[in-house]
Symmetry: C2
């Protein structure tokens, strides 16, 4: 069970989409509530001010050390944005996105942040990839593959892809590209890409239709994703071992006696 520790959204009145924690939570309490790991979403772009980014980096150091002290893993979800309000669904941002995702993955792989797993965006906007785009393209298929490879190469940690609420079709297309790029990702965290259609079904058809939708289309969606995890690998493979136990034996001092 992965529990969120941060407040959703951000304060539009303040520059930089600064993060904030839920005031009644701590890593200790997340553990007590049954959480197996802490999840933190952090809006991040190298294009924001040094002031803003320095605050975010200090904030993440705090969290990393807190999770270390509380002995609970930290999943970090860096989300790209534009500090000047550019439309993040448009072609202009699509051109900037790969480098933002790459820089974030490099930055937060630094051990000083204490992150265990990076939950990352796909570095390209699939809407604008040649072969998948319905209109304008921003990237050739090869561009997209190169960005995927570069992002994977700077990740010093196990990483998983998030869906960002795209459709199941778009997400499985993404995974097709990831397989072609051969990125060593450790799986996906897919929510809306599996059940989002269900919302519309529930609104028009009610509860029974909703259940029916989840057990047919919903299951198909999950199977479609599972069928595309060709190049995914267990997270501990990133550390060159074959099990979590093996890593534990290597990484921790064993009590004398």
């Amino acid at each position: 069970l992965l529990l969120a520790y941060e407040k959703s959204g951000y304060d539009n009145e303040v520059q930089g989409r600064l993060p904030d924690l839920l005031p009644h939570l701590s890593a200790q309490r997340i553990r007590e509530n049954g959480g197996d790991a802490v999840k933190i979403l952090l809006y991040f772009t190298p294009h924001d001010t040094d002031e803003v980014n320095d605050i975010k980096k200090a904030w993440l150091q705090r969290l990393g050390d807190e999770c270390k002290g509380a002995d609970i893993p930290l999943f970090l979800e860096p989300i790209s944005y534009d500090p000047n309000g550019m439309d993040e669904k448009g072609t202009e941002f699509a051109k900037l996105k790969p480098q933002i995702v790459i820089d974030s993955m490099r930055e937060f792989s630094d051990p000083k942040y204490g992150v265990d797993i990076l939950k990352v965006e796909f570095p390209v906007n699939m809407k604008f990839v040649e072969g998948y785009a319905e209109g304008e393209t921003v990237y050739s298929r090869q561009d997209a593959i190169d960005y995927l490879k570069e992002a994977a190469s700077v990740a010093g940690l196990p990483f998983i892809y998030l869906t960002a609420g795209v459709s199941n079709k778009t997400f499985t297309n993404s995974l097709e590209l990831a397989a072609e790029a051969g990125t060593p990702y450790s799986g996906v965290l897919a929510g809306r890409a599996t059940w989002l259609d269900g919302v519309k079904i529930y609104a028009t058809g009610g509860n029974d239709a909703f259940r029916e939708g989840l057990s047919t289309q919903g299951v198909e969606n999950i199977q479609a994703i599972n069928g595309r995890l060709d190049s995914a690998q267990p997270w501990f493979k990133r550390y060159g071992v074959n099990s979590a136990e093996e890593l534990l034996q290597q990484g921790q001092p064993v009590a004398a006696g």
Copy 2:
């Protein structure tokens, strides 16, 4: 070197004197800046709302785990207050203060907060102690001694007394009482009780007079305090050992080999 991690003061617009950290700092950065320990001031009283106190407790858990993760000691300075704006220098508050200090010392001795040293208020207001008071008294001398003993008895951690900016005379009187009570405190953190008079001297006599004042009255102030530390004992005595090294050997698993 002890470095403060919190913003000074509090937001009067918000209930509860909620704490906030300096945005560019982390325990890691305090270490990098040469800090040997993190100091946190937290306004606390059991008389504030459950909502407020729950937030403060979660916040302190975070800090305790962060300092643990960053491997730096945490000094906590709980400061009593009244949530309804009662004058904290008056007799009414003086009646409430002992229990507030005692409750805070008990609460924050809980290992879940990860505090290493409690930096605490004297549990009575010396202005109102029989034998020291110039006007009205709130406590007999025996009352004061009993409160000192009770506060010490609930402290599960080494603790030191802060001066709260009282005069040197008042502070040495406090230490006289502490000695009589025989509390096992681990020393004092005295700032203003040593140099505060110097400010007036500087304002009227300038730099030379200020230096002269510090090297005469200032030194006498420090000597007066040092001369009163009768019952103080090294912090590691609280753990039943005779040195920090001994505690380290007991408390930490030794690497195999």
